[in-house]
């Protein structure tokens, strides 16, 4: 059983941010493994531990993203591929194109993606990749198990959950509601240094500049229209509760 997990390095959304002249700056420059991808890695590790599988990770990103690749290896993935690009303007479509080129000559049972990247919240790459590789797929997985050679995915839909069986080879995008990704152990961290990592370029995949032209673009960033902190009511629970209830009726008019 062979799994490939697509992982992305993203800025930590919890770190302080600032916008300068429309550009987004991070004070700490702190980058992390996309939480949804971490869940995908975790799920693949659990499945492959149970069913004797192999887990490879693939990451597209700048040179400094290799620490994120290491993190996935430290969690337990067996091998990594780092497709190095320094271009930060790529959108999901371009990433999915690069991944398509990468997977074209690969053998695998399942590709897992995160349901979305935590920073852009796009959630497009998985579906694009499945379509381009002509794979059956499902999205927003919150649970998985093996059943008769296929993966049975529990996915979160709008109203409820659906159990969908995805045959191999197939693709699944993962929610972080699926599991609690493991924190690498010391042994894991040590072993990760010796695990094989292929470092390649988009050129190695036969892609040209034209292939990588974006059609969607971020033009600038701006602060969200500030939501003013309103009033805080402290005191006797009975009194404040009644006071706020009245205000909701009389002042806000939302009752």
């Amino acid at each position: 059983m062979k799994f490939y997990i697509c992982i992305k390095q993203v800025p930590d959304v919890n770190a302080p941010l600032q916008i300068k002249e429309g550009q987004l700056l991070q004070d700490t420059d702190r980058m992390i493994l996309n939480a949804y991808d971490a869940s995908a890695v975790e799920e693949a590790l659990v499945l492959s531990e149970k069913h004797d599988g192999e887990v490879e990770v693939v990451l597209i990103g700048p040179d400094k993203a290799k620490e994120t690749l290491r993190k996935a290896l430290a969690m337990g993935a067996d091998k990594g591929t780092h497709i190095v690009t320094e271009d930060e303007s790529y959108d999901s479509a371009v990433y999915s194109k690069i991944l398509t080129a990468f997977f074209n000559d690969k053998e695998y049972d399942y590709i897992f993606c995160g349901k979305q990247a935590q920073d852009t919240d796009s959630g497009l790459t998985g579906g694009m990749l499945a379509m381009q590789l002509d794979l059956p797929y499902t999205t927003n997985a919150v649970g998985m198990e093996f059943e008769n050679g296929s993966i049975l995915v529990k996915r979160q839909g709008d109203a409820g959950q659906e159990m969908i069986s995805v045959p191999s080879p197939g693709l699944v995008t993962c929610s972080n509601d699926m599991n609690e990704p493991r924190i690498p152990s010391l042994k894991g961290i040590m072993q990760s240094k010796r695990k094989p990592v292929d470092t390649i370029s988009t050129g190695d995949l036969g892609l040209s500049e034209d292939d990588l032209a974006v059609r969607t673009q971020i033009l600038s960033f701006e602060e969200k229209p500030e939501r003013e902190a309103g009033r805080k009511f402290e005191g006797e629970p009975d009194e404040v509760a009644r006071e706020v209830a009245k205000l909701l009726d009389e002042e806000a008019g939302v009752l």
């Binding site: 579906g127 805080k232 629970p237």
Partner: protein, 325 residues
């Protein structure tokens, strides 16, 4: 003349409010630019909805009808939309951002080879495509984005636009559709539906959301009672969907749903950015939390600092009184 095409999501024989919001926006844009405002319904009973759509200034409704659409499967839906887009050649295909549309947006974008702007909070049609704003970084900031293409897919966060009505006599065009067993490679085994979700969260006018502070059955009962007094949808933070206290479908936030009620009441919720990402479109935010420094107070219009177990009973009682009078 080309058009803007809105994908209409239906649930239980009703059009989702969020789709009508998108449709309202598309009508505005269509009028501004002199384009046709069209809609597409893909459902087992798709033709039943044209009547409802006539209130929103739609000139044409594409109808794709097949029993298979009763099931949430992506392949048939992709095939249906592919056929409609081929036919309508619209400038924009607009969706309400739901788990259903998220399931297909990427694949559709790839199969049609057109760009997509997911989860925008506003958009406008331009000469070269679409420009818009999207919340990013767990909705902490807004990005201005632009997509270039003859057709652009857009999905819109619920609550971004108001419903505006305008009557019309839409022409109905039925698109032939069939899909074979072999084409659908995934198998839907079972649908597990949400428990006790009386009101659809993303449509709810009032949302009562419970967080980790609601620690037992007694607390959950208070939540239910408040929700029933307010005729509200119940939501929860990840802390409580994860623990199993609430159904995962009720999770609000970055991983869960975006809600856009008139009134959101967060109870025992700290206000982590990933939760707040899902409530920013609420008109009025009320927070009940015993920690005066809880971040949710930074965005709450009315913040009650106190133990929810002490605050809720009089709160519920007072609301009952006000509702009666």
């Amino acid at each position: 003349m080309s058009s803007l095409l809105t994908f209409i999501s239906v649930n239980d024989g009703k059009i989702k409010r969020s789709s009508l919001e998108v449709l309202s926006r598309c009508r505005e844009e269509a009028e501004r630019l002199g384009l046709d405002n069209e809609a597409v319904v893909v459902a087992p009973d798709a033709s039943n909805y044209s009547e409802q759509l006539s209130g929103y200034g739609v000139s044409k409704v594409y109808v794709v009808e097949d029993p298979i659409f009763k099931n949430p499967l992506n392949t048939p839906l992709l095939k249906a939309l592919d056929a409609v887009i081929e036919k309508a050649a619209p400038r924009v295909v607009a969706f309400a951002s739901t788990e259903g549309s998220k399931d297909i947006l990427g694949a559709l974008s790839a199969s049609r080879n057109v760009p997509a702007l997911p989860d925008v909070s506003s958009f406008e049609v331009t000469d070269s495509g679409v420009s818009g704003k999207r919340p990013v970084m767990a909705a902490k900031i807004l990005s201005s984005v632009e997509a270039k293409g003859d057709t652009v897919l857009v999905s819109v966060r619920s609550g971004s636009y108001d419903l505006t009505e305008s009557s019309s006599e839409p022409e109905v065009e039925t698109i032939d559709f069939s899909v074979s067993e072999e084409e659908i490679k995934v198998v839907l085994k079972e649908i597990l539906s949400a428990s006790g979700d009386r009101v659809d969260l993303s449509e709810a006018e009032v949302v009562v959301a419970a967080g980790r502070g609601v620690r037992d059955e007694e607390g959950r009962e208070m939540i239910s009672e408040l929700a029933s007094v307010l005729n509200a949808g119940i939501g929860a933070s990840r802390a409580l969907t994860e623990s199993g206290a609430y159904d995962p479908s009720l999770q609000i936030g970055q991983t869960g749903k975006v809600v856009s009620p008139q009134l959101y009441i967060g109870i025992g919720i700290s206000g982590a950015i990933q939760h707040v990402a899902g409530i920013m479109n609420s008109k009025v935010i009320v927070a009940i939390n015993k920690d005066p420094d809880a971040p949710i107070f930074d965005i709450a219009d009315y913040g009650i600092v106190g133990d929810l177990y002490k605050v809720l009973p009089p709160f519920i009682e007072e609301i009952k009184k006000l509702k009666v009078s």
